[in-house]
C-alpha cells in the first residue's frame, strides 16, 4: 500500500512539473519545473528499488545538466518572458502539434500492447543475477555486470559518441582567424602597444576592424 501512495505522490509531482515546463512563461521557472520533474522520476526509481539510478538521476540531471541549462539561460540573457504571438518559423506550431500527438499515440500503444512496458518488470527483468550466496545482488552490481558484459559494446560505443561530441564542441567553439603567420618580433610588439596606449583612437580602429 505504501508504494502505491508514494507512486501516486511522485507521479503527481512529475506531471505537475512536466506541465510547468511547458506552461511557465519564464525560462528559469521552466527549468525549475524541470528539476521538479527529474526529482519525481528519481522517487519513482526508488519505488522500484533502483536506488543507484535514483541517485544518478539527481546527480547527473538535476545536479549538472539543468545547472548548465540555467547557466546558458542566465549568460545569454534570454531570461525574460517571450512573446508567444510571434511565430519564428512558419508552420512550426502545426508541426509541433502533430509530432506531440504522434509521440503520445506511440507511447500509449506501447503501454497497452507490451506487458510490463512500464514499471517493475521491465526495469528488473535484466537484473536478476544472483550472487555467490544465491541472494540477488544489489542493483549497482547488477547494473555493472550488465553494462560490462552483455552490453559492453553499446556502452563503449556510447562512450565514443560522447568523446566525439566533446571534440566536436571544442572544434566549433574554437576561434579560427585566418592563416597562422610567423610570430612578430617582441620589441616591435612592445613599441606598437606603447603607440596604442599613447593614441586612444588606435584602439577604436582595432575594434572596428574586428567588427568588420
Amino acid at each position: 500500500m505504501l508504494q502505491v501512495i508514494v507512486f501516486l505522490i511522485a507521479a503527481a509531482i512529475v506531471l505537475v512539473g512536466a506541465g510547468g515546463v511547458i506552461f511557465a512563461r519564464h525560462p528559469v521557472h521552466a527549468a525549475l519545473f524541470l528539476i521538479q520533474t527529474l526529482f519525481g522520476v528519481a522517487v519513482l526509481f526508488l519505488v522500484i528499488e533502483a536506488h543507484f539510478l535514483a541517485a544518478i538521476q539527481v546527480i547527473v540531471y538535476a545536479g549538472a545538466i539543468v545547472i548548465l541549462f540555467l547557466f546558458v539561460i542566465m549568460l545569454l540573457g534570454v531570461d525574460r518572458s517571450e512573446n508567444l504571438r510571434v511565430e519564428p518559423i512558419i508552420g512550426q506550431r502545426q508541426l509541433a502539434w502533430f509530432t506531440g500527438a504522434s509521440i503520445l499515440g506511440l507511447l500509449l500503444a506501447i503501454i497497452y500492447s507490451v506487458d510490463g512496458a512500464t514499471g517493475f518488470q521491465s526495469s528488473r527483468s535484466a537484473l536478476d543475477r544472483l550472487g555467490v550466496d544465491g541472494e540477488p545482488l544489489p542493483d549497482v552490481n547488477q547494473l555493472a555486470e550488465s553494462i560490462f558484459t552483455d552490453f559492453v559494446f553499446a556502452f563503449e560505443v556510447t562512450g565514443l559518441l560522447l568523446t566525439v561530441a566533446v571534440v566536436g564542441a571544442v572544434v566549433m567553439a574554437r576561434k579560427i582567424s585566418g592563416e597562422l603567420q610567423p610570430l612578430p618580433d617582441l620589441p616591435e610588439r612592445r613599441v606598437s602597444r606603447a603607440a596604442d596606449a599613447a593614441d586612444p583612437t588606435a584602439d577604436d580602429a582595432v575594434v572596428d576592424a574586428e567588427e568588420a
Binding site: L2, H51, L70, F71, D79, G119, F120, D139, P184
Partner: protein, 418 residues
C-alpha cells in the same frame, strides 16, 4: 486504471528494512531527526565562534570576547540581531525564487549529515551501539545508495546559490552565482573521482560499510598498526588530498571563495539578502563545512573507529573519536582561510580541470590495476611500477598538450591584437 494492470504493485513488497534506520519506530525516528538537527545547529554556532576565535588568534587579535565566557555566545547574539532586522526584497527580484533559494541551500546541507555514522562500536559489534536496552546504528539512515546521496545533495546545494544570485535581479549577485555554479560543477567531477577510489576499496556505497571496511588494522612490515587500514593509507594519500582540495572548493571557502570575493562582487550571491534569509545562507554554509569534515572522516579516517578504552560505556568512545577527528578538519578549514590568499578565477579553473581531475582519474586507474593484479596474482610491485609509469606518461602528455595550446593561443593573440 493503467497502473492497476501492472503486476508489480500487487506482487512487489516495498521493503523498508533495506534502509537501515536507527530504529524503525516512527516516534524514535522523529526524535532522532530532531536530535540531529539540533546537534547541527549547535555545531554551526560553535563552528562560527571557533572560526572567529582561531582566525583572530592567528592575526594577533582578541576576537569575540563579550557575549558569554570567551565570547562563546557571540553567534547566538548575532543570530538574534539578524532575527530582528528588516527583511528586504528588492523591487527587481523574482519574489518566489528569491524566497525559495535559502531553503534550497539549507535542506541539502542538513540531509547530507543524516547518513554519516557518528558512532557505534565497529570494533566487534559491526557498528551497533546498545543504549537503554535498544540496539541501533548510530546514524540517522543508511541508504543503499549511500555516499551517492552526498554527491546528489551537494549537486542540489548549487541551486540555492545560483537561484539566490539570479533572483536578486542585480548584477553583482548574478556574477557571484554564475561563478559559484561553474566552480561547483567543475569540482564535483574531481570530488566524484576521488570518491570512486574509496568505493573501489570498500566495494559498497553504504557509509556504514565504508567505515566497517576501514576497521581492524593492517600489518605493515610485520607490525600490526591499527590505523593502517584507514583509507587514507590504503589508497595512498592522493584521493584524500584531491578530495580535501575539491571539497574546499565545493564549500566556496577560502582560498576558493571567489563566489563572495568582497573586493570584486560586494557580498557575492547573497548581497541582496538580509535578516533571516541571510542567516539561512550563513547557516547552510557552516553546516556544509561541518558535514564535509564529517564526510572526510568517514571516507578516509575510519569514521568513529578508535580504541574502546572502557567496555562499560562502549557507545561513548566512538562518538568521542569521531568528533575529535571532525574538529581537526574544522581547524584545517579555518587554517586555510587564515593563511592562503584567494585564487584568481582562471587559476581556479586550471587547478580543477587540468590538475585535479586528471590526477584523480590516473590514480583511480592505478588503484583499479592493483585490484585486478591481486585477483590475477600478478607481482604487485610490477603492477605498481607499470601503473605509475603509465600515469606519469599520460600526465606529461597532457601537460605538453596544455603548454602547446597555451603557446598557440599566445601566438594568435599576438596576431590579432599585436
Amino acid at each position: 486504471m493503467i497502473f492497476a494492470q501492472q503486476p508489480y504493485l500487487e506482487t512487489f513488497e516495498w521493503s523498508w528494512p533495506t534502509w537501515r534506520f536507527w530504529e524503525n519506530d516512527p516516534v524514535f525516528l522523529i526524535i532522532q531527526v530532531v536530535l540531529i538537527f539540533a546537534f547541527l545547529l549547535v555545531a554551526v554556532m560553535l563552528m562560527v565562534w571557533f572560526e572567529r576565535k582561531v582566525v583572530s588568534d592567528m592575526q594577533n587579535r582578541i576576537g569575540p570576547n563579550v557575549a558569554g565566557p570567551w565570547g562563546i555566545l557571540q553567534t547566538l547574539a548575532d543570530g538574534i540581531k539578524l532575527f530582528f532586522k528588516e527583511d528586504l526584497i528588492p523591487d527587481q527580484a523574482d519574489r518566489f525564487v528569491f524566497k525559495l533559494a535559502p531553503y534550497l541551500s539549507l535542506i541539502p546541507a542538513f540531509l547530507m549529515f543524516t547518513m554519516v555514522p557518528i558512532g557505534g562500536n565497529f570494533a566487534d559489534k559491526n557498528g551497533e551501539a546498545e543504549l537503554f536496552g535498544h540496539t541501533f546504528l548510530v546514524q540517522l539512515v543508511d541508504p543503499p545508495m549511500g555516499i551517492l546521496l552526498f554527491l546528489a545533495m551537494s549537486g542540489l546545494g548549487i541551486y540555492g546559490v545560483m537561484l539566490a544570485g539570479w533572483s536578486s535581479g542585480s548584477k553583482y549577485p548574478l556574477l557571484g552565482s554564475v561563478r559559484a555554479s561553474a566552480q561547483m560543477v567543475s569540482y564535483e567531477a574531481a570530488l566524484g573521482l576521488s570518491l570512486a577510489a574509496v568505493l573501489l576499496a570498500s566495494g559498497s556505497l553504504s557509509t556504514h560499510d565504508i567505515v566497517a571496511e576501514q576497521v581492524g588494522g593492517a600489518e605493515v612490515l610485520g607490525v600490526e598498526i591499527s590505523v593502517a587500514s584507514w583509507n587514507i593509507f590504503g589508497l595512498g594519500f592522493i584521493p584524500f588530498i584531491v578530495f580535501l582540495i575539491a571539497g574546499t572548493a565545493e564549500l566556496n571557502r577560502p582560498p576558493f571563495d571567489l563566489v563572495e570575493a568582497e573586493q570584486e562582487l560586494v557580498g557575492g550571491f547573497h548581497t541582496e539578502y538580509s535578516s533571516l534569509r541571510f542567516s539561512l545562507f550563513f547557516l547552510a554554509e557552516f553546516m556544509n563545512v561541518v558535514t564535509m569534515s564529517a564526510i572526510m572522516v568517514t571516507l578516509f579516517f575510519g569514521g568513529p573507529d578508535g580504541p574502546i578504552l572502557w567496555d562499560a560505556i562502549d557507545w561513548f568512545w566512538p562518538i568521542l573519536w569521531f568528533f575529535s577527528k571532525v574538529i581537526v578538519f574544522l581547524f584545517i578549514f579555518v587554517w586555510f582561510r587564515a593563511t592562503l590568499p584567494r585564487l584568481r578565477y582562471d587559476q581556479l579553473m586550471d587547478l580543477g580541470w587540468k590538475v585535479l581531475i586528471p590526477i584523480s582519474l590516473i590514480w583511480f586507474l592505478i588503484l583499479a590495476a592493483i585490484r585486478v593484479g591481486q585477483d590475477e596474482d600478478w607481482n604487485i610491485f610490477v603492477v605498481i611500477a607499470v601503473g605509475l609509469a603509465g600515469g606519469v606518461l599520460a600526465m606529461s602528455l597532457l601537460m605538453g598538450a596544455i603548454r602547446n595550446a597555451r603557446l598557440n593561443r599566445a601566438e594568435s593573440d599576438v596576431l590579432e591584437y599585436g
